[in-house]
Symmetry: C2
Subunit: 338 residues, 2 copies
C-alpha cells in the first residue's frame, strides 16, 4: 500500500508537514454584525462593495482575501506555487477570474460548500509530497449571487422556510507552507458522495449530514482515533437541523461527538439575526476557519481540531429533473506541533 495511506479514506502527512502560515477572511455586512465579527480581517459596508454586480463583489472578496493572506506572510504571487480554489457559482467564476488577476498556477475545484477542506486537502498533499513550498487555498460565497442562482431572484422576496440556511457572504483561506510557523495539517480523510434521498433545496443540512457523519466515522476508523482525541470537531455548514442529525448518525455508529462538536453554520450568525436554520456557503467554513478557529488555536484554546466542510452536490437542473441532493464532506486534522 502507498506509504502515506492509513487505509480506507485517510492519508497522513509525514514528509514535509504542511503548516498554515497565514490566513485571512473578508465578510459581508450581516456577517460583520454577528458574534464572530471581531475575528474577521475586513467587513464590507454593503453587498455590492462599489462593484457593478454581486458577482464582481464576490470576485473582489476572493482576490483581496488572497492578497491579504500573501501580505501577512510577506509573499508575492510569484512565491506561491499553486492556488487551489472554487466557489458556488456556475463554472466557479469567482475563483477563476480571481486566478486570472492573481497570476498564480490554478487548480479549479468544485465541491460546493466542502471546497474549503477540499482545497486544503489537495494543497497539503502538494506541500507534504515535496511538490510545492507555498500553496494558497481559498473559497468564497455571496448570499446574493447564490440565492439568485440556486433559488429565486431576490427581488421576489420569497418567504424562506424554517429549515432554510443563509448563504454567507465572505471569502477566506489559508497559506500552506513547507516551512514557517503555524498549526499543521496531519491527516486528510476524503469524502464519498452520500445520498439519503433529500430533495428539498431549502433543507440542505439534512442532505449534507449523512456525508459529514460518514467522513467523520471513516476518519475515526482509519486513524484509530475517537472524538476524545480532538479538542473540537467542526463541520462546515450543516446548520441547526443538520448538526443534530450528524450527532444522531454518529451515535448510531458508536461515536458521541456532541460535547465537542460545533458547526460553522451555527456559529457565524446569532439567533437574533433571524437567518432561520443557520448559515451555509463555501465562504462559511472558510471564514470561520480562517478567522475564528485558527485564532483560537493560536491563543491556545484548541490544540487539535478535526474539520469537515460539507457540500451539497446538486444543481438547479438536477433538482428540476427530479434528482435528490447528494452530499460530500472532506475532513482535515489540524494540530499544533513544535
Amino acid at each position: 500500500m502507498a506509504q502515506n495511506r492509513l487505509g480506507g479514506q485517510t492519508i497522513s502527512f509525514i514528509q514535509n508537514l504542511p503548516r498554515i502560515t497565514s490566513r485571512a477572511s473578508i465578510v459581508g455586512k450581516k456577517e460583520g454584525e454577528g458574534p464572530l465579527a471581531q475575528y474577521f480581517d475586513k467587513i464590507l459596508e454593503d453587498d455590492l462593495w462599489g462593484e457593478k454586480s454581486w458577482e464582481k463583489a464576490e470576485r473582489r472578496m476572493f482576490i483581496e482575501a488572497a492578497q491579504l493572506i500573501m501580505k501577512k506572510a510577506k509573499k508575492e504571487p510569484a512565491d506561491i506555487n499553486y492556488l487551489f480554489g472554487g466557489d458556488l457559482l456556475d463554472q466557479i467564476i469567482s475563483a477563476a477570474y480571481a486566478a486570472r488577476s492573481l497570476g498564480i498556477p490554478f487548480y479549479g475545484l468544485y465541491g460546493a460548500c466542502s471546497t474549503m477542506t477540499e482545497s486544503i486537502s489537495l494543497g497539503a498533499v502538494m506541500v507534504d509530497g515535496g511538490y510545492a513550498d507555498h500553496v494558497l487555498c481559498l473559497t468564497s460565497s455571496h448570499f446574493c449571487t447564490a440565492e439568485r442562482q440556486f433559488r429565486f431572484p431576490l427581488e421576489m422576496g420569497t418567504q424562506r422556510p424554517p429549515t432554510a440556511q443563509w448563504t454567507v457572504t465572505g471569502a477566506g483561506g489559508v497559506l500552506l507552507s513547507s516551512s514557517g510557523e503555524g498549526p499543521c495539517i496531519t491527516h486528510v480523510t476524503t469524502g464519498k458522495v452520500i445520498d439519503f434521498g433529500i430533495k428539498d433545496a431549502n433543507n440542505m443540512g439534512a442532505a449534507m449530514a449523512p456525508a459529514a457523519a460518514d467522513t467523520i466515522r471513516a476518519h475515526f476508523e482509519d486513524t484509530g482515533r475517537g472524538p476524545e482525541d480532538y479538542d473540537l470537531i467542526v463541520t462546515g455548514d450543516l446548520a441547526k437541523y443538520g448538526r443534530e442529525l450528524t450527532i444522531h448518525l454518529l451515535k448510531k455508529e458508536g461515536y458521541d461527538i456532541e460535547s465537542r462538536f460545533i458547526d460553522c453554520g451555527c456559529e457565524i450568525f446569532s439567533e437574533e439575526q433571524d437567518i432561520h436554520a443557520g448559515a451555509s456557503g463555501c465562504g462559511c467554513s472558510a471564514v470561520v476557519l480562517a478567522g475564528y478557529l485558527l485564532k483560537q488555536m493560536e491563543d491556545g484554546q484548541f490544540n487539535r481540531i478535526l474539520m469537515a466542510s460539507t457540500g451539497a452536490l446538486h444543481s438547479t437542473v438536477s433538482s428540476q429533473q427530479g434528482d435528490s441532493i447528494p452530499g460530500i464532506a472532506h475532513a482535515i486534522a489540524i494540530e499544533k506541533k513544535g
Copy 2:
C-alpha cells in the same frame, strides 16, 4: 525548493512513477461516425441512450466509462483510492452523481475543457507522492447538455458561425497506478489563467490558445526540453483557428511546434461532418487520449507525448456581465518507460 519542483510551473515525478494502467472511452453517434471511430470502446446509438434527459445520458456515460476502466484493469471500486473528475455542467453534476454511484472517494474539479489533464495532474501527484495506489481520472461532455447550458436551446435551431466548435458527446478517462504496465506521467506543468480579451462564446479556440501557448512555453522553459523532445504535442480542443493561433504565439517565443502538433478538436471529426471550426468539450481530449493517443503509444507510434487540455473559464453570467473569456491549459508529459 520542494524536491519535486523543476521551478516555474513544472513538477517532475521521481518517487512512485504513475503509470496509465487502464483506459476507456464512450462516445456519441456523431463521434462514432468520425475518423477515430475504431479507437472508442463504445458508441451510443443516439444522444439520449434510453435515458430521460441528455444530462442523465451524460452521467451514464461517465459511470460506464469508469466501470469499463476498472473492468479492464480487473479492479473493483474498493481498490480505487480516489476519483478525480469533472465536467462542463453547472455544479459538475455529471461527475458528482457518477461519484455517488461509484462510491469512490471523490475530488470534484472544474477546469472546463482542461479537466482531463487537470485530473491526471492531481491524480499523478497522489500516486507519485505515495498517497494512492490507484486513481481514476475521468471527464465527460455532451453536445446537447452543453449547448443548451452555454448557448441556446437546441430547439431554436440557431445558425452557428464558422468559428463555432461542436461539443463532443463522450466520456473518457484513465487509471493511474503505482505499479503495473503502461506509459508513465513524468511531468506536470500547471496552467495560469490567461485572458487576451476575447468575448465571443462562439470563438473559444481563440480564447484558449493564449493559455495553451503559455503553458507549453512554460513547460519547455522549466524542463529545458523543446518541441524536438516530443514525438507529438497535443492540445485539448482549440480547433482550427485556435490551433493556428497557438502555433503563431509559440513561434514568437522561439518554439516551432507545427510539424508535430495536433489538436484533439481537429482530429475527432472529419471535414465532411460539417462541425465548423472543430470539436470542443471536456470529453474531447478525454476520449482522444483514452481512445486514440494511448493506443498509438501502445502500438509504438509515439513514445513521448506532451498533452495540454485547454479550458475556457467563463460562464453565461460572466459573459452577460461583459467579462471576456479567460483560458487555462494544464500540460502533462506521457512517456513510455521500461
